[in-house]
């Protein structure tokens, strides 16, 4: 492992991308992820790599599309309103089987919202925010070091499955400073060649990157191929964390910043005799339905806590499938729930 | 022997007639013959007048015309 540094979440994501071999980064500034852009602006040219402050979010994701077509590792980042603009490009990336990493440092919405932390882009991220039948792999870190680890992983998964991968964090994670031990940079030359990339038709037939066919039967086959890959991802790439679940009779289901806060709540609840555990999805898509289902057989209640009006809650209810009670507590507009507030919700449901 | 000669790919021709107008000598005309797509294809009405200038081919939007010129004796 590499050196230990005190860094903001945004900087860690940027630095991890560099160490994962991100060759081209394109973005448009937006709060609360500006430090990510600034880190890339400072460091990418120094390494002989590409940084462009694009004219818009749409341009940035389109540049990602171009760089991904050539086969290099590429990334863009933004926050909620900017991610809305990128949906066109994300749908095209998915449709054209292109690997890319997209970072969303979520802020309050809808509309312009505010610049405070939120989790209200869950639907957009996990259910296909753009048009067409597609998914992205969505990774949700809950600490600054984990943001770095998942960013490294995101590039590998993107290449492996030829799919866009999203890092879904929030303004709190982006701004928070923590000691981080950054991994060693990968050797880009050791990555497998991308035979499909548009690198010039030398000694081979032309490669074509496209997401369309006007023949419905052909487009159906293209869609079936995507769906087949999604089933593989669902089978192999589900990631989650459990904390204090062994003897729990009530669970909090939470991800990202809220999961981190909820770990304190688990300690507080246990101190007063409530057998509380935590279930934390790390992949929001594919969602860990099966492990949640198994846990739900052993507990009375799964309390979903989110900084939204109840978006992941829908997936929790799908996973729990009435095996347990599924109450919800959420904050909106950039309000971060305090451990005490969450604890009082837990008490309501503790037997 | 004419100075020029054209090979017109009848199945590529869409009968737009731009080559007829582009021809510096009146060589080309609609043949009245329909290709598989139903287009009235162009043919060399006066092949003896062709000088192989290639204007027809330059103008053809479907790259349906090949142009040949008589070899100049060495």
């Amino acid at each position: 492992m590499g050196e230990r540094m005190l860094l903001r979440g945004n900087e860690v994501i940027a630095e991890a991308a560099i160490r994962a071999g991100c060759q081209c980064y394109f973005a448009y500034p937006i709060t609360p992820q500006a430090e990510l852009l600034e880190h890339m602006a400072k460091n990418m040219p120094r390494l002989g790599r590409t940084f462009i402050q694009a004219e818009s979010e749409i341009a940035a994701i389109s540049m990602v599309y171009g760089a991904a077509s050539v086969g290099v590792r590429t990334m863009t980042s933004s926050s909620s309103p900017g991610i809305s603009l990128k949906q066109e490009g994300i749908s095209y990336l998915a449709g054209s089987n292109l690997p890319a990493v997209i970072v969303n440092i979520v802020r309050g919405g809808p509309g312009l919202g505010d610049i405070a932390p939120a989790q209200s882009d869950y639907f957009q991220a996990t259910k296909g925010g753009g048009h067409g039948d597609y998914h992205m792999i969505v990774l949700a870190p809950s600490t600054v070091p984990e943001a770095g680890e998942l960013t490294m992983l995101a590039f590998d998964l993107a290449d492996q499955y030829r799919t866009p991968v999203m890092i879904l964090a929030d303004g709190m994670l982006g701004q928070m400073m923590e000691p981080v031990e950054l991994p060693e940079p990968i050797d880009v030359a050791s990555l497998p060649a991308k035979e499909w990339a548009t690198t010039g038709a030398k000694g081979r037939d032309p490669n074509v990157i496209l997401s369309f066919d006007l023949d419905p039967e052909v487009l159906k086959r293209m869609n079936l191929a995507l769906q087949k890959r999604y089933r593989q991802i669902e089978a192999k790439e589900v990631r989650y964390e459990e904390a204090a679940t062994e003897d729990a009779d009530i669970l909090i289901a939470a991800y990202g910043t809220v999961a981190r806060i909820s770990k304190s709540v688990v300690r507080m609840a246990r101190a007063e005799g409530i057998k509380l555990g935590l279930f934390r999805p790390i992949t929001l898509w594919p969602f860990p339905y099966q492990p949640l289902k198994e846990l739900a057989d052993r507990v009375k209640t799964v309390l979903t806590v989110e900084m939204s009006a109840g978006q992941m809650w829908e997936d929790v209810r799908l996973g729990v499938a009435e095996r347990a009670n599924t109450p919800f507590y959420g904050e909106m507009g950039g309000v971060v729930p305090t451990p005490r507030r969450i604890l009082s919700e837990v008490r309501k449901h503790a037997s | 022997m004419p100075k020029g000669m054209l090979i017109i790919d009848k199945e590529r021709c869409k009968g737009c007639g731009l080559c007829i107008v582009a021809c510096s000598h009146p060589v080309l005309a609609f043949s009245g013959e329909l290709n598989r797509s139903g287009y009235n294809v162009v043919h060399m009405e006066r092949p003896e007048a062709c000088v192989g200038c290639g204007f027809c081919a330059l103008t053809c939007p479907d790259v349906a015309i090949e142009v040949y010129r008589a070899r100049v004796p060495a």
Binding site: Q23, C24, T50, I52, A54, E55, S56, I58, A59, A60, S62, M63, V64, Y65, G66, A67, A68, S69, V70, G71, T74, E88, G89, Y92, T198, T199, G200, A201, G203, P206, N207, V208, I209, L210, F212 | M1, M5, I7, R12, K14, G15, C16, G17, L18, V21, A22, G54, A57, L58, T59, P61, D62, V63, I65, E66, V67, Y68, R69, A70, R71
Partner: protein
């Protein structure tokens, strides 16, 4: 008709950079001429193995069927941004974006202007036929005043829809572009001029000079409701009055 070419030498044939696939364009459409010119240029420069074309949305969406080089199909209007990503990721590639007037000068306005303003070392071919061909003949940003389209059935009224946009002149105001020119294809002289311009635009990129834009006035006989020959005449006599031909910038 049996033809003998034994004693003859071929002086014009299909460029090697074109596939055998037939164009999907309507009879008389200039897209075909332009596609052939680009392929011929790629042949002459010997760059088919390192060329990447970026195709637009619109009638040219099928470009990947026709070239023997790698092709990327971009989302509507973003071809110049996609080309930027390709070229930055691999500067050894020769990258051209092929965009219609809706793609380049309407929905892609920001991407088009800013790729030019950054002086991206790419070649952009901008096909201006003053109408939206594929969707059914709607108004383009370049439609002429009074032009009847399916969305301006009484003719384009500037009070409602503004004036035909001279986008290349806007690009020519920028400091970065190396070469900005407007060409046409309505007769053999213009076709030869356009061929030279396109070759220059590719050569500039090969020599690392920067951004080149070739606007090409093209016809859309189908949606103009004209015969191909009438459409050519219309470009020569009417369209070129609004969109004058010639080089706007040549800093090569």
């Amino acid at each position: 008709m049996p033809v003998s070419t034994e004693k003859m030498v071929k002086v014009f044939g299909r460029p090697g950079s074109l596939t055998e696939a037939r164009f999907t364009y309507c009879p008389g459409c200039h897209h075909g001429i332009l596609t052939r010119i680009i392929a011929q240029t790629i042949d002459e420069l010997g760059i088919v193995e390192r060329t990447v074309g970026v195709a637009p949305v619109g009638c040219a969406v099928f470009a990947y069927l026709w070239y023997r080089c790698d092709v990327i199909q971009a989302s509507h209007g973003r071809a110049s941004a996609v080309a930027t990503g390709v070229k930055r990721a691999n500067p050894n590639l020769i990258v051209f974006a092929y965009q219609g007037d809706g793609d380049f000068a309407s929905i892609g306005t920001a991407e088009s202007i800013h790729a030019a303003n950054r002086g991206e070392n790419i070649t952009v071919i901008f096909v201006n036929n003053q109408v939206y061909g594929m969707t059914g003949g709607e108004m383009a940003p370049t439609s002429l005043v009074g032009q009847k389209t399916t969305t301006t059935p009484d003719g384009r009224d500037p009070a409602l829809f503004g004036y035909p946009i001279r986008f290349s002149e806007m690009i020519a105001q920028l400091d970065a572009p190396v070469y900005v020119t407007r060409q046409a294809l309505y007769d053999t002289k213009r076709i030869m001029d356009a061929t030279k311009a396109i070759k220059k635009a590719f050569t500039n990129q090969l020599e690392g000079k920067g951004y080149s834009l070739v606007e090409v006035l093209a016809t859309c006989p189908t949606n103009w409701r004209m015969k191909p020959t009438e459409a050519n005449k219309h470009v020569a006599e009417v369209v070129t009055k609004v969109f004058p031909l010639g080089d706007l910038i040549d800093r090569g």
